[in-house]
Amino acid sequence: MTVMEQRGAYRPTPPPAWQPRTDPVPLLPDERPYRVLGTEAAAEADPALLRRLYAELVRGRRYNVQATALTKQGRLAVYPSSTGQEACEVAAALALQERDWLFPSYRDTLAAVARGVDPVQALTLLRGDWHTGYDPYEHRVAPLSTPLATQLPHAVGLAHAAHLKGDDVVALALVGDGGTSEGDFHEALNFAAVWQAPVVFLVQNNGFAISVPLAKQTAAPSLAHKAVGYGMPGRLVDGNDAVAVHQVLAEALAHARTGGGPTLIEAVTYRIDAHTNADDATRYRGDSEVEAWREHDPIALLEGELTARGIVDEDGIRAVREEAEAMAADLRERMNQDPVLDPMDLFAHVYAEPTPQLREQRDQLRAELDAEAQADADTGAAAGPEGAGR
């Protein structure tokens, strides 16, 4: 039986006999974001998982801070920090199986790193020495997607292809609250539901699309309420509660893995930093709001649980922090080295084989560079390493 046949053939029925094609009630999200930390359910969470989440959160925060610092030192062109959103980033990476795929948006460097992408390679795009800095197949992480929501149909297609091949592979796609307004969001979710593709959509609702608050983005009761319109379940979760996000994701991924089709998850969180280092958030929001969210910090929330339950002590916390510092130091050091660039790369990958036109252009550039080098040699100027002049 083909995937298509499984869905049965819809025959339109005159209204007297009309039936809804799915029961809408189970598709609607809870009234409030699902939480674990600070509730009784927390006691049931696996200590090993909590420890892992905690270590990754601390590491993630440190990564955000370090990357932002690198922009100030001119080592990164730009960095969109996910400070405040680490619970989503980290839980997304940890909930996946190794064979699964992650489709990050431009803000989700952290999720890629938590999934195993080299911390420096993950920053290639933002340093500017190339576009995607890692091989997407190595850790099954699609390129960080700058055009918003365009990665969502990719995730659906990949999940569908895996499903058709009978592979046990689920795709997890990340998108922001702003990205839900794009047509690609709609088309992706619709294809996913019609195909019953094994894909999960995680919306990080951090309250803003650059300067635009959610109220100007949607009038929906919640973004999770969009799910019913596609015939998939919608879940609403506290995006700063790493345990809750992990649990909701794990459930949705398992549901997809076992043929249950896609899920839309809205994680309610907050972008503590400005949109990027280049943005001035004081133009559009006040400190008090940021402060309110700092009180609901994902790391503090989890740390509270861990210490209350005695799962980690001060030494344990210190060890985690030291490990994060070491990662940051390594990142700093490696990012302080100039990347080695070959201008001929401009032409090497446009096609599998360069066209005759590209070969001509490559030769032209090579001749120009040779002439430059010759001129530099003649005038005795030292030819600096590529990119250093930026």
Binding site: P143, P153, V156, G157, A161, D184, N190, Q357
Partner: protein, 334 residues
């Protein structure tokens, strides 16, 4: 060896055959689009494929072009070779962002780690009495997008060969099908399809000595007709069918113009900012001292595609081509 009858076939039939053979040869080939399954496509190019290969290999998608191309990207990431049908030229525009920002760039962005062997079939051009948005020639948009191959057949045999080559290519290909040639017939042996040159080779369809008509797709038969008519005027026109706009076969084109010393580019797409400017410019760059006259262009007017009852005034026809040939400064000859 048995001799197989060379039977006349239409371009649409050759395309269907190419899809079928590609799907048979490679289980990774998936056809998808609006109405491509049960109906076999509005031009019936995918006729029979769903029945033969199943709905999962030839899939009726929801009605959303960005979604079709976007999911095809994901399928290609997983190793499939999607062949996407856009129902009409203008209905490929909703997929423009996916095409330009992802399909064309993925290979480059990932330093070749993630090739996207996606073929996007687009029925294009006019001459079939279509209402607005059904007759656009959109090749200029695709030509201006590095990372795409842009291919368009003019004969039944090329329709087969170039589509097979496009599907086999590891690069994304925009495959432009001239709507009004779908029902054009030709003797063509479907059992033993003629080997077709790799993508990127133009071909001289008609040799001639006094001027070159450079053209492609739906305008090829018109140019051949013009070349016949030109004999009465004493002109012996060469007709070059580009077959591939990207990559462009500078060699074949420039060799022809160097021989003839005069050239007219003919296409249906609007003239301003259309393919003809690029072609004329590159021919001039390469053949300047061989040219007796500027390379001229005969193109559609710079207007939104006209309603059916006026399209014959818009489409480059034999007379307009001959007028242009007549303006190639023949007096300089003597």
């Amino acid at each position: 060896m048995t001799t197989v009858a060379v039977k006349p076939a239409t371009m649409a039939q050759a395309l269907t055959r190419a899809l079928r053979d590609a799907m048979t040869a490679d289980p990774a080939v998936h056809v998808m689009g609006e109405d491509v399954g049960t109906l076999g496509g509005v031009f019936r190019v995918t006729d029979g494929l769903a029945a033969e290969f199943g709905d999962d290999r030839c899939t009726d998608t929801p009605l959303a072009e960005a979604g079709i191309l976007g999911t095809a990207v994901g399928m290609a990431m997983y190793g499939l070779r999607p062949v996407v049908e856009m129902q009409f030229d203008a209905f490929a525009y909703p997929a423009f962002e996916q095409l330009v920002s992802h399909v064309a760039r993925m290979h480059n962005r990932t330093r070749g780690a993630m090739p996207l062997p996606v073929t996007v079939r687009v029925p294009y051009g006019g001459g079939i009495g279509g209402v607005e948005h059904h007759s656009d020639s959109s090749e200029a948009y695709y030509m201006a997008t590095p990372g795409l191959h842009v291919v368009t057949p003019a004969t039944v045999a090329d329709a087969y060969g170039l589509l097979r080559a496009s599907i086999a290519s590891d690069d994304p290909v925009v495959f432009l099908e001239p709507k009004r040639l779908y029902w054009s017939k030709d003797s063509w042996n479907p059992e033993e399809p003629q080997a077709v040159e790799p993508i990127g080779r133009a071909v001289v369809r008609r040799p001639g000595r006094t001027a070159t008509l450079i053209t492609y797709g739906p305008s090829v038969p018109v140019c051949l007709e013009a070349a016949e008519a030109a004999r009465a005027e004493g002109w012996d026109l060469e007709v070059v069918d580009l077959r591939s706009l990207v990559p462009f076969d500078d060699e074949t084109v420039a060799a022809s113009v160097r021989r003839t010393g005069r050239a007219v580019v003919v296409h249906e797409s609007g003239g301003f900012g259309g393919p003809g400017g690029e072609i004329a410019a590159r021919v001039t760059e390469r053949c300047f001292h061989h040219l007796e006259a500027p390379v001229l262009r005969v193109a559609g007017f710079d207007v939104p595609y006209p309603p059916p009852m006026l399209e014959r005034h818009h489409l480059p026809g034999v007379d307009r081509i001959l007028d242009a040939v007549g303006r190639l400064q023949w007096e300089a000859e003597s």
